[in-house]
């Protein structure tokens, strides 16, 4: 195993940060964009928020392969269900289908998922489905390796009945904080907002995110610093 490039044969995994949050009128799903194989970043702009139906999306963490195949199966089942039902599927049904796969294959799968969406019966709903296949409906939930750094943050800032803008800002701030500390999370922040009016995807590249402790304002080159007004840019 090459110590520098890591084990390129290691399974692709999304050491990840994923978040799902309800607000007054819908849900906001958020994720980072890093997919790693060992220490190498295989994809620095992945899309971990995957569509299941027009009104239900899923955040994927853990094994990339496992989460993709589960999403694909659930999308397939939900498509058929929608045809039979004659109207959009509910978020609860989507979550339960994910549960069936996660629970019944718990020995083989290693993926933590967050199902979020909007339906006309219950409005915006978030379901957390961690390893093992437990399903828990929650006002908000976090997942992936980066989530360990966010428990304290959410304990402090979470409140019920936020506006869409407050919720989106909260999700972006949280993913950005996790990226700052979790080596397995990185790249851009993606959000998907789902409400009665439909679905909105947003994209926040690194330079739009706030800077945290010991992070510096990015520059094109050191030469820019040298030529600016600073008295002693090079210090011996």
């Amino acid at each position: 195993m090459d110590g520098i490039s890591g084990d390129l044969n290691a399974p692709h995994s999304m050491g990840t940060t994923i978040i799902g949050v309800t607000y007054n009128g819908g849900v906001v799903l958020g994720a980072d964009s890093r997919t790693s194989t060992g220490m190498y970043v295989a994809n620095r702009a992945s899309d971990k928020i995957t569509q299941l139906t027009d009104n239900v999306y899923i955040c994927r963490s853990g094994s990339a392969a496992d989460s993709q195949i589960v999403s694909d199966y659930v999308r397939y089942f939900l498509h058929q269900h929608t045809i039979q039902l004659g109207q959009p599927s509910t978020v609860k049904v989507a979550a339960n289908l994910v549960r069936l796969l996660s629970y019944n294959n718990k020995n083989m799968l290693q993926t933590g998922l967050i199902v979020g969406g909007w339906d006309k019966y219950e409005g915006g709903k978030i379901y957390g489905i961690p390893l093992g296949g437990t399903v828990l409906e929650q006002p908000f939930t976090i997942g992936g390796s980066g989530s360990t750094y966010l428990y304290g943050f959410f304990d402090q800032v979470w409140k019920e009945g936020m506006t869409q803008d407050e919720a989106e800002k909260l999700v972006v701030k949280a993913v950005s904080l996790a990226i700052a500390r979790d080596g397995a999370s990185g790249g851009v922040v993606r959000t998907v907002t789902i409400n009665k009016d439909g679905v909105t995807r947003k994209f926040y590249p690194g330079n739009t995110l706030p800077l945290w402790h010991e992070e510096l304002e990015p520059k094109d080159s050191m030469l820019d610093i040298l030529s600016s007004a600073s008295p002693e840019p090079m210090v011996s």
Binding site: P11, S13, M14, G15, S36, S61, G62, S63, R99, Y103, K106, N107, Q110, G112, P130, L131, G132, G133, T134, V135, L136, Q138, G144, S145, T148, Y151, D182, A184
Partner: protein, 245 residues
């Protein structure tokens, strides 16, 4: 695997993980359930925690549920397996109701059904990773039993799962008596739950108490217990023995 979560309890039952189906270890777990008989029926208590290894990840998990008209179940262990057990029980009760014969399954029957399910899964080396408490009243007869993932089952006047076995049952052996009033029963359970809160790392301070009588089932709203830290020995634990803890 790049999930940096803390390792759940590793418990290799028999070698190869390539076997088609066996539960290896639990992921999201609930801790103790405590149950007692009292004058009018049964009281169960459980906190609302769902731990993920050493992380107290979920704090509003309902671990006490009604089963039909005459029973309540409390579960500790893997929550996904408990959710599956509830599906089995809901189906059992549904089919029982469909007979529409005026008869209904009592707590003793439900406990027996659960015992068979748990033991048969154990024999296939694919257990439902839970310890369950099943209590109820039917025709004036009170019933309180327990069954766990290896199929061990028994009934008693007071039962507990997990840490409750070690911390709650000694208290109950000392202080339980026949014909406790509802208030006495609740105070006794709260005493047990407080000790568990102090001494069980996976306990969370948010609990529910469930009551079942001939009249039916009620499960309380979530609430928290006060704790006591005002001991002089706590304020200065190493006085007279500097460097100790």
């Amino acid at each position: 695997m790049n999930l940096a979560d803390s390792t759940p309890a590793m418990n290799s039952l028999l070698g190869s993980e390539a076997d088609s189906q066996r539960t290896l270890y639990p992921y999201v777990t609930g801790t103790s359930v405590v149950g007692i008989k009292y004058k009018d029926g049964i009281l169960l208590a459980a906190d609302m925690g769902g731990s993920y290894g050493s992380t107290l990840r979920y704090k509003t998990v309902e671990r006490l549920k009604p089963v039909g008209k005459h029973s309540i179940i409390g579960a500790s262990g893997e929550i996904s397996d408990f959710q599956e057990i509830m599906r089995y029980l809901d189906e059992l009760i549904l089919y029982d109701n469909m007979w529409d014969d005026g008869n209904s399954l009592g707590p003793k029957e439900v406990h027996n059904y659960l015992t068979r399910v748990m033991y048969n899964r154990r024999n296939k080396f694919n257990p439902l990773w839970n310890s369950l408490v099943l209590g109820g009243v039917k025709n004036g007869q009170k019933y309180l039993g327990t069954v766990n993932m290896i199929g061990v089952h028994y009934e008693d006047n007071h039962v507990a799962t997990g840490f409750g076995n070690h911390l709650a049952r000694p208290i109950l052996r000392d202080e339980w008596h026949e014909n406790l009033t509802f208030e006495e029963g609740v105070k006794l359970l709260e005493k047990c739950m407080r000790v568990l809160l102090y001494r069980d790392r996976s306990a969370v301070n948010k609990l529910q108490i469930a009551k079942i009588t001939e009249a039916g089932v009620t499960i309380s709203q979530p609430y928290s217990l006060k704790t006591f830290w005002d001991f002089s020995a706590f304020k200065n634990p190493t006085v007279g023995a500097e460097g100790s803890w």
